[in-house]
């Protein structure tokens, strides 16, 4: 049992986390950050559930949080696979790079506000291959008596 003071405060924290997660999932474009925002919303819901559960002395809310954890784990496994597949095919973690599921007659979404990729791609020195070609032909190595 917890006092009502703690209940309202915990509810407030849950609400803040939920809204922050909502803003994150609406605005951010990186697939993984979007996923983190969704998890943030789940955290807010968990706090709320536990607070009510403790307030009422009923264990149902905590049981529900256990299921939230389970679902989050499943979600992470499946989502990560799809994110990885998207990354493997496009080389980007951008949500808008993943447009293969749109309707056939719809045009492709093109980002106009996207800044140019000004990341410096490091150019590594190309060293000449190490070693020298072995002399003679391979057939002579048959007669070789030592290495």
């Amino acid at each position: 049992m917890i006092p009502a003071t703690l209940l309202t405060n915990a509810l407030l924290v849950g609400a803040v986390l939920f809204c922050l997660g909502l803003v994150g999932i609406l605005t951010r474009r990186n697939l993984i950050v979007m996923f983190l925002s969704a998890e943030l919303m789940l955290q807010g819901v968990s706090v709320t559930l536990v607070a009510w559960s403790r307030y009422h002395g009923d264990w149902g809310g905590q049981v529900l949080v256990v299921f939230v954890l389970t679902v989050a784990a499943c979600e992470a496994a499946v989502a990560l696979v799809f994110v990885l597949q998207a990354f493997a095919s496009t080389g980007r973690l951008d949500a808008s790079a993943w447009q293969a599921l749109r309707e056939e007659n719809l045009p492709r979404v093109i980002d106009h506000g996207l800044p140019a990729d000004d990341r410096v791609v490091p150019t590594w020195p190309h060293l000449s291959p190490a070693g020298v070609l072995p002399e003679g032909d391979d057939s002579r190595s048959l007669e070789r008596d030592h290495v």
């Binding site: 405060n9 407030l12 909502l22 609406l26 950050v33 905590q62 049981v63 389970t70 989050a72 992470a76």
Partner: protein
Amino acid sequence: MDPVAATTLPIPGLLLAGSVAALAASLWLLLPKTSDTVNSRRLGFLFGAAALIGFAATGRSLGGVGADAVFLTVAGISVISGLATIVTRSPVYSAIWFAMALAGVSGVLLVLGAQFLGVATIVVYAGAILVMFLFVLMLAQPSGMAPYDRVSNEPMLAAAAGAVLLGLLTLSIGRLSAAEPPACCRLPSRAQAMAAAPTEGVGSEDDRSATLLAPATAGVERVDADEVAHLGAELFGRHLFAVEVAGVLLLVALVGSIAVVSRGEATETDHRRESR
């Protein structure tokens, strides 16, 4: 109802509106945009601090924020880290901030007396899920910041929507405690019902529900000693079927993700195995 909550003031509307506006401005300024400058971010932090103080003040008027220093600390950690999670440009840092937020949430759960869930959150989220994400992030983005991390979709609208939603939620939480005990709380809770019931159940066949009474009568400061045992009994008693379903769900997710990820890579290894 708690006497403190019953005597609290109604929420000052102006304060709430101000906090909502400050939060919206802060979110808009802090979210990644192409027009970002150092000063705009500073201003965003300023607004964010103002919004935090505003909401804390609102919470205080709801029922005494500041009574519990530990709760305030962990709540502050979780909220600030949550904000940082969504506004940080580098995804790796974003994930680190999310881990901090998790630590804060876990602290909140511990203060609320849910020991098992508090620690399980860390084990499952921070220990397994987030590590996987860090793996992917570190492998996918070795250095620099991708263009899509430097802009966000409709930051102004989203910030405003989020702030307004938070204001509304705060308002309803305030109504909940400031007004007469609302409908949901007027219903006798299970513990209250048990506390009201005659205590002849103690020592009889239903020992579990008898100990469940104890927190209600022994006062709010007492740490619930057998929290895990209660949760386990509830989980595998009333909700056994749901637990089974959750187990199947986990299995399906595992098999599904392995099936999807290994579809493209199997050929070469299989070929080699066959040839040997």
